[in-house]
Symmetry: C2
Subunit: 315 residues, 2 copies
């Protein structure tokens, strides 16, 4: 149980020379929105206080090498997971790592990079919650679980724009990856403190209506008290429900509809800040950005909730 | 001192002789039923596989010394909590400890004792979940939270029988301890995976009806799937409900009424064993013993659930 040793060491406190950073994991399948979610958090905290790491950098093979292999990038054997675990442990104990860098635009491992832990370290990728030892490194864990049709559309658009694929190639790759996604990526969902699901609002699939977010808040960490601001009838576009997750476990489900208006958002944002003792503060303006100057209010609320957890864990 | 941490780890090694035990915490106030719960588990697993430790042994002062102190045994300053934490870490990493022994019958620290960790280590007492470091040592955590009138009656009876107090002395001591119980003991409840509440069945306070148990099962660990055996209407004396805990957190609440009959018990016991892959097994007969040859079915179910978690964590 090396995970327990690590938990003991991390719990032993921050009095060491190497101050231990707060670690956030954002796991999810390809094009689930991990980078967008991460970018807003890094900008809100400031790059001098918050660094991020993508576990795709631990790919064992280049894109060309993968062509002849019997598995995709979603297979554990296609990644240096033992080194990823080692680097997560080093970062969690306040030490720097020299890490590889995978360049998605050319599909190659290009160089190495020194990463020194700041106050906050965000680790996003396919595998941050894959093993018990990796999970023991984190203070807060998130799994991004968007509606599958939404994710496929995001992946086609992003891979065509940034990685030089055709739509047919991306859809073919998605089908090829599906069994490995089911076997290795999606099971990480059960280990997340927060599961985030972006999806079209049911019955309102007009593409001009922004996507909604459903946040499953597991009581594995202490969430801000939203019961007052979420009283039935008080807010139309956000509500909190006691539910069972797909595996039967009790969970709080926070629904944030895409058509939420600014007044409602601000009330919830204030409640979240109040829960960390800063009732007058408003969300940083950088939250909610989805590229091209567009903004998603459900994404902003999601990011604010994660900021809350990062700040609380750092106290 | 990351260098020292590393040296210690390398010296300890993965394949070391010190196999790390599964650790269970049972926290709760005085006379909450911790020893009774523990005794059945140790008997079921066998003393060669399971040892127990009481954190009362870390009292800093004898009963006589405490008379002149401005706090009771429930105050952290009245206990060697840093040493308790150190011993928990040593045990969690598979190492033996030489621990003090507090003899309740005479109210004195009497001698020391070598405790070598077996496959399972049960730590019961006032403080096992008090600090983050202590909590990091455990695989499964329990808080005993009996109905307060029940606990007071248990304490009067036990302290008069075993510790030479009069009923008046015990009731006076309970009043004296109340603020420290509220400040230091009861807050540990929030950190338990399972909260166990023994209480008279409401509206059936005939003392001949055995106490019921309410088990709050937090999704911080994976509980056995009882949804099938607990379908509404199938069982009268046991039911599982999705609830909010007193602090608002989502939780499963398993009610086991004191008048549960053997047939119902056996169905639930089989479901629990089935969830660890032994569907034909029945509960060991030693479970449920409450002294004097008496037996409590709700206690037996509680102990069986904990056995499930110990065995699962050891796999």
């Amino acid at each position: 149980m090396p995970d327990k040793t690590l938990r003991i060491h991390r719990a032993a406190g921050r009095s060491s020379v190497n101050r231990r950073p707060v670690m956030l994991a954002i796991a999810g399948d390809s094009a689930a929105g991990k980078t967008t979610l991460t970018a807003g958090l890094v900008e809100a905290l400031g790059p001098e206080r918050c660094v991020s790491l993508c576990t795709d950098d631990y790919h064992r093979y280049d894109r060309a090498e993968r062509q002849s292999l019997p598995f995709t990038a979603l297979h554990p054997d296609c990644n240096h997971l033992a080194i990823m675990e080692q680097h997560l442990q080093l970062l969690a104990s306040g030490q720097p790592v020299l890490k590889p860098v995978y360049d998605h635009s050319i599909g190659r491992l290009s160089h190495t990079e020194l990463l020194e832990p700041a106050d906050f370290v965000i680790v996003e990728g396919l595998f941050p919650l894959y093993s018990k030892l990796a999970r023991a490194c984190f203070d807060v864990t998130v799994f991004l679980d968007p509606h599958e049709q939404t994710r496929r559309a995001w992946k086609v658009e992003r891979d065509a724009r940034e990685r030089g694929y055709t739509a047919e190639q991306v859809l073919g790759e998605l089908d090829l990856r599906e069994p490995e996604s089911a076997a290795y990526i999606r099971p990480q969902r059960q280990h997340a403190d927060i599961v985030v699901r972006f999806a079209p609002v049911q019955g309102r699939d007009d593409p001009s209506v922004p996507l909604s977010a459903e946040l499953l808040l597991r009581p594995t960490i202490r969430h801000p008290d939203l019961s007052e601001v979420m009283q039935p009838g008080v807010h139309r576009a956000m509500h909190l429900e006691l539910e069972r997750d797909t595996d039967g476990r009790p969970v709080d489900s926070l629904h944030v509809h895409g058509y939420v208006d600014a007044e409602e958002s601000i009330a919830v944002e204030k409640a979240i800040w109040a829960s960390i003792g800063e009732p007058e503060r408003c969300a940083p303006e950088c939250l909610g950005g989805i590229g091209g100057g567009e903004r998603s209010e459900p994404l902003a609320i999601t990011q604010l909730l994660l900021l809350h957890h990062l700040i609380e864990a750092g106290r």
